[in-house]
Symmetry: C3
């Protein structure tokens, strides 16, 4: 079950990366690079920050093969991806949930504090997209007003971490965390829930 | 004493990050991310490059709590930060000094050469701001003509490294290095000391 | 022989970095940073991803000294670099070949799959330039239609990996891999061989 979620999340992230690269008119090399960055970027940061000996995409190398194949096929048939795009929010929300909880659990298992674990959950769940957009020379959409994304990851990570303090079985904590992320994310998309943009006001002459 | 400097430096960096994010009209998530990037980016690169087992902000997790709280409060009361902004150069220069010397000392303690240690001092002291600006899609101000910044870090690191070769007690080397960084940085700000921009001349047709 | 190739490749990468920074009108600090990023970025990612205990430029610190000296001299005499620029494709292609094969060999020696090894070859060979351009706020040229670059690295890595499966001596596999990269790269430059840009077609309203 978790494997199926993980696999669908990697596929959804890769497709987002391919579409991002296609909109920047990259060639197949750029499509591959951005697909890898979006799909693997968050987990790579987590593994580096936690000093884990093997990056997850090096250890489980079938994910790299899947992303590679998707990017090559997507480069040849880009318009088919556009048709799939509207189906992506559900697997993407599931992936956000799964990766957030997995990231938090790796950190807590290493003995770090719950606060650090929640941050690593968010980094794992969301920073692939940030890295992809930074490489594409775009301001990360995660950081600008848009339907809640990192916030859902943060909330779900805390639900997982708090239930994990109790005697409840691990699967309950993991499931509850993922459900909270998915429900919050889909609700934020449905009702366009977002934070406002910051403003330093009309007296800040340094605004560009 | 060093703890007080470190804490004030983290606060000053975080406030720079919050103001940078506010000027890009990010939401609270973006403000948090840029505050973390500016405050922790340089030390994170140092810890990864030196293969230290625990990132400093994971080991000392109260810094992450402080930056988080600052970013949330700053998102609610951004104009108060503008008033504080003019007070920042001193804690920022102290932080530049402390982080540069700490970065150089970690490298020299691992047995690396003085030249490598001076580079790691500069990376620790200055690359948080670079990472924050790259994420914000801005050209890093560290790399364009502006009052000397990385150069102060480099000079102070060498003062520390050279005194460290002698029989002088460690605290003398550390203090002298920090003082050199702080005095150079404040002088560069006061008298606008800067390097010129490079130019390939009018015959370079590839200038954009 | 390999040492001479490696050294000329580091010099060629550093000069590309210096010219990139000069075209962005950076000062000497920016020139140093971009020269380091282009020359050392790919190998640094490789060493971090493979969890190697010492980054290659920290272990072999004469490379950092060479790049530092080049960047300082280049900042003073930028126009001399322009004259050298047209000589760079050959050492650059040699470096692409060498770094790609070395990256792939490090991964295969750690027991990773051939596919992962080929990806690490490409990352080692090409990501220095990507990092340099991202820091300079440019869209990476590696990802847009241009004479084949990463593709040459990928093909040469596979030639090395496949010969490495046989009983042939290691030097044969390494040499064949490097030759394939160099010949493909020079041919791609000579005849302007490139992949087309992706396009989502006129019906994609989200194109910017």
């Amino acid at each position: 079950m978790l494997n199926a979620i993980e696999c669908s999340a990697v596929v959804a992230s890769a497709i987002y990366g391919i579409l991002l690269a296609a909109r920047k008119q990259f060639d197949v090399v750029g499509v591959l690079a951005i697909a890898f960055a979006v799909a693997f970027g968050g987990g790579t940061l987590r593994d580096l920050f936690l000093d884990r000996p093997k990056l997850f995409w090096i250890e489980h190398d079938h994910y790299a093969v899947i992303v590679f194949a998707l990017a090559v096929v997507g480069s040849i048939l880009p318009r088919q991806l556009l048709k799939i795009e509207k189906l992506l929010p559900l697997p993407d929300a599931l992936g956000l949930g799964l990766f957030s909880i997995v990231g938090a659990s790796y950190a807590i298992d290493q003995g770090h504090s719950m606060f650090i674990a929640s941050l690593l959950g968010v980094i794992t769940g969301t920073f692939g997209g940030v890295i992809g957009e930074v490489i594409c020379n775009e301001i990360p959409s995660l950081f600008r007003p848009a339907p809640l994304h990192a916030t859902c990851s943060f909330a779900g990570a805390w639900v997982y971490l708090l239930i994990n303090l109790t005697d409840a079985p691990g699967i309950v904590a993991v499931s509850a965390g993922i459900v909270v992320v998915v429900v919050m994310r889909l609700a934020a998309l449905r009702w366009n829930v977002r934070f406002p943009a910051m403003s330093l006001g009309p007296h800040d002459e340094s605004i560009k």
